[in-house]
């Protein structure tokens, strides 16, 4: 059995058929996981100024760039193993660098609250064994964490939920769009307007406090009734919800205070984003956006977005991420003005403009390590086949030594 790194569910029941040093077939994996494990068609090659080089020269050049930079930044990390992340945090300390990950413009603000123990959360096994009311809120798990409903939440039998979805569980979707997940929650799909989450929460708070909700009264009262009866409830908070209430996350905490049987779980996409948040939190007390200078500084201005916009870095190392693909076009323009170093198994948009590229092994397929599942559980990744690629951790170790 192999662990899949397709998403942060880290499914550990995958069987693979290897042929000619590639995974030819997978069993049990979802479409997303199978694609990740089978790999990309464009493997990254070592290069300097887009001319082919060798690993040693690329690492040497990368070390030189980072050493000479006044304000280096290390970014990415959500597709890196925990071992690589810890090395990366060490490298950032050594360089007095800024370090940030993709959670900075994703679920970071919610995961921070989990690690600060601001609300109740639970494990995916708790959900499987006990949950009877499941709320997919701004989350289309069917497309983002495709086996969430089948392995853990809605369909499986669990210790106290022997009758599964047919009788024992209710799945609810609250979303702007009738997603594939909402389709499964038929009868319990609450469509909200864009940015309407806060108003919906306030109405629910009213209903749970014995007041008449001003908004969609009948549906809100019906939903409040279901929530009140829950024995073990889970709110799967997607980025749809997080983005929508990012200015006022407290409102969600107020809601769960009224629902003592409920737990919040941030839905994480990239396989080890939560790992980075936990590793950095353990070392600094913050989940992302940190600048080292002997001390630990944490401010919004150290987020990848603000750093690029305000041109606060003069050399960027990107590992396990593709900012050129995932950030606003206006913001990534600055990347063409500074040297970018890209470490990834595959060619990415970022690698195409990078001054130095360093290919690494696909973790969980070509190298081993550990990662943190979306609920905080640490999971081992195994190496499925022999290969000549260095792991992301080994590259960082060599980079550190060269600096």
């Amino acid at each position: 059995m192999v662990t899949c790194t397709g998403c942060a569910l880290l499914c550990d029941d995958i069987e693979v058929v290897v042929e000619n040093n590639r995974i030819k077939e997978t069993r049990n994996a979802c479409r997303r996981g199978a694609a990740r494990m089978k790999g990309c068609v464009n493997r990254l090659i070592p290069s300097i100024y887009q001319k082919p080089s060798d690993i040693d020269s690329s690492i040497k050049k990368a070390a030189e760039i980072l050493k000479n930079a006044k304000s280096p930044m290390l970014f990415g990390w959500s597709n890196s193993t925990c071992e690589a992340q810890v090395k990366g945090i060490g490298l950032a300390r050594k360089l007095n660098a800024i370090i940030d990950d993709t959670s900075s413009f994703c679920q970071g603000i919610l995961i921070e609250k989990v690690l600060q123990k601001k609300f109740r959360t639970c494990s995916l096994e708790d959900v499987r064994n006990r949950a009877d009311v499941l709320i997919y809120w701004g989350s289309d798990a069917q497309d983002s964490q495709p086996r969430h409903l089948s392995r853990f939440s809605y369909f499986p039998r669990g210790e106290t939920r022997q009758r599964g979805y047919e009788e024992d569980r209710v799945a609810i979707a609250i979303d702007v769009r009738e997603s594939n997940t909402a389709k499964i929650c038929k009868g319990h799909f609450y469509r909200i307007p864009l940015k309407g989450d806060r108003e919906f929460i306030l109405a629910l708070i009213d209903a749970l406090s014995g007041k008449v909700p001003s908004y969609d009264t009948k549906k809100i009262l019906e939903l409040a009734g279901i929530l009140k009866k829950a024995e073990f409830g889970a709110i799967f908070a997607g980025i749809g919800l997080t983005y929508s209430i990012k200015e006022d996350l407290v409102v969600l905490l107020t809601l769960v205070d009224l629902l003592p049987n409920f737990h919040i779980m941030p839905m994480v996409g990239h396989y080890n984003m939560r790992g980075f948040n936990e590793n950095l939190f353990r070392e600094t007390g913050f989940v992302n956006r940190v600048k080292f200078d002997g001390n630990v500084n944490h401010e919004d201005k150290y987020s990848i977005l603000e750093v690029l916009k305000e041109k606060r870095t003069d050399a960027l190392l990107v590992i396990g991420g593709d900012p050129l693909s995932s950030l606003p076009g206006t913001v990534v323009k600055h990347l063409s003005a500074i040297p970018v170093i890209c470490i990834d198994p595959c060619a990415t948009l970022t690698s195409k403009i990078a001054v130095v590229t360093i290919p690494c092994a696909v973790s969980g397929v070509e190298s081993d390590g550990t990662a943190v599942r979306m609920d905080g559980e640490t999971v081992k990744l195994s190496k499925v086949m022999e290969n000549n690629y260095l792991s992301d951790e080994k590259i960082l170790t060599r980079l550190m030594r060269a600096i």
């Binding site: 990309c40 100024y49 076009g329 403009i353």
Partner: protein, 140 residues
């Protein structure tokens, strides 16, 4: 038959709100080949309700230009698979949606990926190629 240029000259511009979402087929294409045709086809698309398509005079499959304060991009308009009330269109998260999302975050570092506004009109140009969405490389 010549191209009906009048169709574009008279094509009015509408304002539309756009939110992004994830699509497993597009993610699969991304994992396989983010420079490939399949990824482009599944990314450079805006899904619209039948109501909105009719109201704006577009057909499913028409190319449309989306222009915001941040940028402009040509994608294909398609009808939603499910009945949606309209007023909001959907794009999968990709460099094409990122071409029009604002980088303004009030200093908070989180763009409004899921809450965009753009002008939409028929386009005669081809779908914007990926290369056009990328900045150049710093030279040695």
């Amino acid at each position: 038959m010549g191209m009906d240029l009048g169709k574009f000259l008279n094509s009015p511009e509408f304002e539309i709100r756009i939110t992004t979402y994830r699509d497993i087929f597009q993610v699969e294409a991304l994992e396989r080949d983010r420079f490939g045709e399949e990824y482009k086809k599944l990314s450079a698309t805006i899904m619209m309700s039948r109501n909105d398509l009719q109201k704006m005079g577009f057909k499913s499959g028409d190319r449309v230009r989306l222009t915001s304060n941040s940028g402009s991009v040509v994608v294909e308009a398609k009808e939603n698979k499910r009945d949606e009330p309209g007023g909001i269109a959907f794009m999968v998260n990709s460099p094409w949606s990122n071409a029009i999302v604002s980088g303004e975050t009030g200093g908070k570092g989180i763009p409004e990926f899921k809450n965009m506004t753009a002008k939409i009109s028929l386009a005669k140009e081809e779908v914007t190629p990926l290369e056009k969405l990328m900045p150049g490389m710093r030279q040695a």
